[in-house]
């Protein structure tokens, strides 16, 4: 047997956490991902099965925050589904079993790096990184955008100070650099308890 050690997207044995007073950037290594594309003529079947899985089918620019499987809209008749890797390491196979010939399913876990950005400076940080209208976005809004030339998904989570960023795993280091450099560039002092919201 090979004696292999699992590495995170940034190459560590443990997920990286960068903690500042005003923001915490955590590498999220516990996410299984798979994409779903409805097959032509089977859109209605695919919608029905996704609704069964997620509770609702997310429309353009939306995510369905749901446990254990969650999903967000990527494009016309295309969605990304995510679930905890601990319980759903075989997510793509499970989805294929559920969706059958209604959709094409592609394993995506190894293609993305996921960062959770949490803290009072989240909105300011997001505005420096990309062009999504973060202050207008509600919990469950999900947008594809560009961060330092990398195509990324930005998902606004339930907590008001939390965004999740999915970026290309092969450029995990570059994306991490962009996040850390932006966090350090913000003025820490303006996020005290008496600072305006």
């Amino acid at each position: 047997m090979h004696d292999l050690v699992k590495q995170t997207a940034l190459g560590g044995t443990e997920p990286r956490v960068d903690k500042y007073d005003h923001i915490t950037i955590s590498e999220n290594d516990g996410l299984s991902l798979a994409s779903v594309a409805a097959r032509r003529g089977k859109e209605a079947d695919c919608h029905k099965l996704l609704k069964k899985l997620l509770g609702a089918v997310p429309g353009p620019g939306r995510a369905q925050l749901h446990d254990p499987e969650a999903g967000f809209w990527m494009g016309p008749e295309q969605w990304m589904i995510g679930a905890p890797s601990e319980s759903h390491e075989d997510l793509a196979e499970r989805l294929k079993g559920l969706l059958g010939d209604a959709a094409s399913v592609t394993e995506q876990t190894g293609a993305w790096v996921c960062f959770d950005v949490i803290g009072p400076a989240m909105q300011d940080m997001c505005e420096r990184l990309c062009s999504v209208p973060i202050r207008q976005m509600q919990a469950g809004d999900a947008q594809r955008t560009v961060i330092h030339h990398l195509g990324c998904f930005v998902i606004r989570r339930t907590a008001a100070d939390h965004i999740r960023i999915l970026g290309p795993r092969a450029s995990a280091g570059s994306l991490h650099h962009a996040l850390v450099a932006t966090a350090q560039a913000l003025d820490t002092g303006s996020y005290g308890s008496d600072a305006p919201a």
Binding site: P60, P76, T145, G151
Partner: protein
């Protein structure tokens, strides 16, 4: 310039890349008797109007959909934005 994406709403044109004339959708029939001539025209000949023009735009920094944008090349006014998929299907392609 703002492009009003049919699904995602108004977006800055910097999020898009431009491909050109939307007649690229009308790919000729390769089995036609005049295929060589048709493909030469398809590949090389373009109208260059000062006025309304149907163009293909790719939402590269967004949902990666292809759009057909009707734009006035003189004023940059945009009168219509459609999903290229819908336009192609209306013309009997990709069905």
């Amino acid at each position: 310039m703002i492009i009003n994406h049919p699904l995602l709403g108004p977006r800055d044109s910097a999020e898009f890349t431009y491909l050109g004339d939307a007649r690229l959708i009308d790919r000729p029939d390769w089995q036609s008797q005049t295929a060589a001539r048709d493909f030469y025209e398809y590949g090389y000949l373009r109208e260059n109007p000062a006025g309304w023009h149907e163009e293909l735009w790719f939402h590269e920094a967004g949902d990666r959909s292809w759009l057909v944008v009707t734009r006035n090349t003189v004023t940059h006014e945009i009168s219509k934005v459609e999903m290229a998929r819908d336009v192609a299907r209306k013309r009997g392609r990709s069905t």
